[in-house]
Structure formats: C-alpha cells, structure tokens
Amino acid sequence: MTTLARDTRIVFVRELKPMIRDPFSVVFGLVQPLVFLALFGPLLSGSVGSAGPVTAGGTVWQWFVPSILVMTALFGTSAVGSNLLYEFQTGAHERMLVTPLSRSSLLIGRSLKEMVPLAGQAVLIVAVMVPFGFDLYPAGALLGLALLAVFGVGLGSLSYALAIAVRKNEWMFWLVQQTLLFPLMILSGMLLPLESGPGWMQAASRANPLAYVVDAERALFAGDVASLDALWGAVAAGATAAIGLFVGIRAMLRSAD
C-alpha cells in the first residue's frame, strides 16, 4: 500500500507539471465555464419565467450555478482520456509501463489530478457569482465541492478506460464520449428542468447517476446538508468513483498489449 501511495503521488505530480508550467491554459480553462454561465444564465431566466423550480430557491443563479459546476466536471473529466491517447501515440505511456510504477498508480494518480483544475474552476465560479446574488452556504459548498471531486475522479477514470479500450482506433474516443455526454447531460436536468419534460424523460433521469449528483449539488449549495438529495448524490458520486477506478485499473493492467 505504501508503494501504491508513493507511485500515485509521483504520477499525480508528473501530471500536474504541464499545468503549472503553462498557466495560460489553466486560466483559459477557468474562464470557459464563466463565459457559458454569463451567456446561458440570462436566457434561462428569461425562458423559464419567474415561477417553477428554477427560481424557487431565489434567483436563477441559485439553481444554475450548481449546474455549471457539474457541467464543468462533466466536460473536463470526460475528456481527459485524450491526454492518455496522446501518450499512447508518442510512446510516453509505454515508457511508464516499463518503469517499476504500479499499473494501478498510473490510473489513480491521473484521475486524482483531475480534482485540481476542477476545484480551481469551482472556487472561481462560486467566487464570481456571489456578488450577483448567489447565496453561499460555506459548509454545504465545501461538501458540494468534495462530492464533485469524488465524481470527477470516477468520470476521469472512465474516460481513461475508454481511451485504453479504443487506443487502436483513436477516432472512436470522441465519438463515444460525445454520444454519451449529451444524453447524460440533458437527462440530468442540468441545463433545463426535467419537471417540465415528458414522463419518460423523468423516468430515464432516475437511472442517470449524474441527475442525483446535480440534485445533490443544488441541495448542498442551498445549505441543505442533511437532505436526502445530498445523500443520494453522495451515493451516486461514490458509486461512479468505485466503478470508474475498478474499470480503469483493469483497463490499465492490460494497456501494454
């Protein structure tokens, strides 16, 4: 276990280095969700009106900021497999496989690193939105970020597993990622409330772990720490992380073939 921790730390630090060396790309990544927030938020409040679930908790931001946080996690971590695909192509991954690093650490270290940009983006979004009337409940917000981090580790792991699975047909990566991304996103009630959608969509969303994460983030950022929504979100995020790591590590063990 101590070697696994040591190896994971080495992989984690190695993965962070390009980010540290290239702050411009980090800043760009941080600003992206804010642009979306600024463009989509006003449209949303205009189209859903003043009644309904979106504005039930106060301003539209109270409903929409947690959405943007989950969306940032979704887009960011589901794409990270492409970095690994690139390292398959160049030979960097092969070099890592010949070193004494444990195979599991190659996956865990990478997935844990995804928490770092995610946490940065989340903190920035919340900080920017507070002056616009977003009510901050610190305990709930911290728990919300932690939950997002756990979910991000799971989704990042799945993205790496996908990259390993399609490494000989790289074009498949974006095809599969995009095909899964949009149904997951829409059926989570992230951008538009599902309450106004047809019954089958609501039923389908009950099978979507992302929907539970979105509900939990809304509850936590509204200060509802001890709610059932928060609990189910934690279960969904934990399950995503467990399944992601399991699938990801198994894929990594076979990644040399």
């Binding site: 280095k17 060396r21 160049t90 960097a92």
Partner: protein, 312 residues
C-alpha cells in the same frame, strides 16, 4: 544478464516470435538485426515485461519476466521506438519525474540529470517543451530518460531510426561513453546494417521470428558470406568459366565486360584467376575484391536482401 528459452509470441494466428533461445552475458553489446516484421520489437517487448510470452521463458537481470516483472523493471532501462518523454512536459521535468520513479533522492537526481544533460547536449533545452524539440533532440532526450537510473541493462529499440548520419554518430558517441562509465550491458535492435556492423560486438540476426545467426560481425561475414570479386575483361564468358572452377566460388555473373563472383578468400582468388587467365591467353584487365557486408550475410542465409526488405 539475459537468458531465454524457446520464447514465442503469437498474435492470433500470426506467429511473431517462434522460439528464441538466447544468452547474453553482463557487459555485452548485442545488436539484434533483421527486416521489418522479423520479431525484433516483439522480442524486446517481452524482455522488457511489456507483453507476456505465449510460451517459453525469459530471465532478465536475474528475474523471470512473467513471475517478477517488477524486479526486472527496477533493473533495466528502455528506450522504445517512440518518445519516452511526454510531449506536453518540459525536458527537465520529465528527467526529474523519471528519477523520482526510480527512487533517486532529489540530490542524486540533480547530479544525474545534470551530467546526462551535459553528456547528451541537452543543456539549452531543459526548459523547452518536448513537443518543441527536433527529432534528433527528442531522441537524445529519450536516451537520457533511459539512462537516468544508470541501469545495468539497457534496451534500445531502433535508437537511431530517422536520424541524420551525423546525429547517429553523435548519439552513439554518447551511448558508448555512458556504457563505459556505468558498465552497462546493451541490447539494441536496428535495421541499419552499418550500425550493427560498426557498433555491436555481437550480432544476432532474426528472421521470421527465429534467430538465424549469432556471432561477431566479422566472423559472420567470413563464415557465411565470403568476399566478392570483380574482374574487367574482354571475354567475360571464358573468364567466368575459370572463376567457376575456384574452390568455394558461387554466384558467378558474367556481364558485358565484367565478371563478378562470391569467393572464400578474395585476394587469393584474384591471384589464381589472373594466373589461369594469363595461361589460357584470356585478356583480364583490372581486378577488385570487396569485403562482405552484413547484407551479404543475410542474403546467403535467407536468399533475400535485407536492404531491399527494409526498402519495401
């Protein structure tokens, strides 16, 4: 240092490696030579624990590649055909990451990275991104990455492919210096005949997944290929008849004004042919002898030219 017994690897119905038995002693510099698809890289990937053999066994640096791959990995260095350093990373970062992976202390890592950077002329590049380097610079970095932990055994998979001749010579100068400093055993694959010829102390020729020859380059050449001779003459068919009667002559070709052949000993053959030609009154002009190349060795073993195989 390396001991394999009947090593094989199948990819589905393709038998990439068909039973390689090989022993390499500490300190040797061995070149594995063969055409594309001969099984060189597959063999190297088995020896470096990247893929498991289908059958047979291999002990590398004292440990079995299947039973204790971790022990093998700790003791070897590997420079694959691709670039070991991540393209998004900076040169110095990757060298230090590699040092951390092998458990070097920060102080040791600084010393080792410093000396490698100097030895491989990477000094001006340490702060550059790997993707910004030229092919030759990246290859030198790959070798530096493989040497960070001063392994006792270094595998180089086609280290100089794609490099200009001058860069190849430089790279080899660095590799040989590191070898002398660290007492390394080196196994490399190459399809450059001259590289195997001039650098390796032992050449293992692989074809269709099997070892077909294993010796020093010079004894492979004299045992398996023999010298080539060429005579210019006004009556090629008469002179060809004389050449054909030499003991050990083969591939006698008579063309317009010239006779070429393969013989056991070039200078002796020239003397004999010229004497016989003089006695029979056949005009023979100049005579030349050529030392064989490893391509001649491959040709005599397989009937195919390695140079042509690789040009395909």
């Amino acid at each position: 240092m390396i001991q394999t017994k009947g090593l094989t690897k199948d990819f589905g119905a393709v038998h990439a490696v068909r039973g390689i038995t090989l022993a390499i002693e500490p300190g040797e510099l061995v070149a594995v030579l063969g055409p594309n698809g001969a099984g060189k890289t597959t063999t190297m990937r088995m020896l470096t624990t990247l893929i498991a053999p289908t059958s047979g066994s291999a002990e590398v640096a004292g440990h079995d590649v299947v039973r204790s791959p971790g022990e093998v990995r700790r003791r070897i260095g590997y420079v694959g055909q691709g670039n070991g350093a991540g393209h998004q990373h900076r040169v110095a970062d990757e060298l230090h990451s590699q040092a951390a992976i092998y458990g070097l202390s920060r102080a040791d890592a600084r010393t080792r990275v410093g000396s490698l950077v100097e030895a491989l002329d990477l000094g001006d590049l340490v702060k550059r991104k790997v993707s910004e380097l030229s092919g030759g610079q990246r290859r030198r970095l790959d070798v530096a990455m493989g040497l960070v932990h001063a392994p006792g055994l270094l595998f180089l998979d086609e280290p100089s492919t794609g490099l200009a001749p001058q860069n190849r010579a430089n790279l080899w100068e660095h590799i040989l210096r590191m070898r002398a400093e660290h007492d390394m055993t080196i196994v490399l694959t190459t399809h450059y005949l001259d590289e195997a010829d001039s650098m390796a102390e032992r050449v293992v020729i692989v074809d269709q997944g099997e070892v077909i020859a294993d010796d020093t380059a010079s004894s492979l050449k004299s045992k398996l290929a023999g010298d080539r001779v060429a005579f210019s003459t006004g009556s090629p068919s008469d002179l060809a008849a004389i050449v054909s009667q030499l003991p050990g002559s083969s591939e006698v070709e008579a063309t317009d004004g010239e006779v070429r052949a393969r013989v056991a000993d070039g200078p002796v053959a020239v003397a004999e042919v010229l004497r016989a030609a003089f006695e029979k009154g056949i005009a023979a002009g100049s005579a030349q002898t050529f030392r064989p190349t490893l391509d001649d060795v491959f040709l005599s073993l397989t009937g195919r030219s390695l140079r042509e195989e690789n040009a395909k």
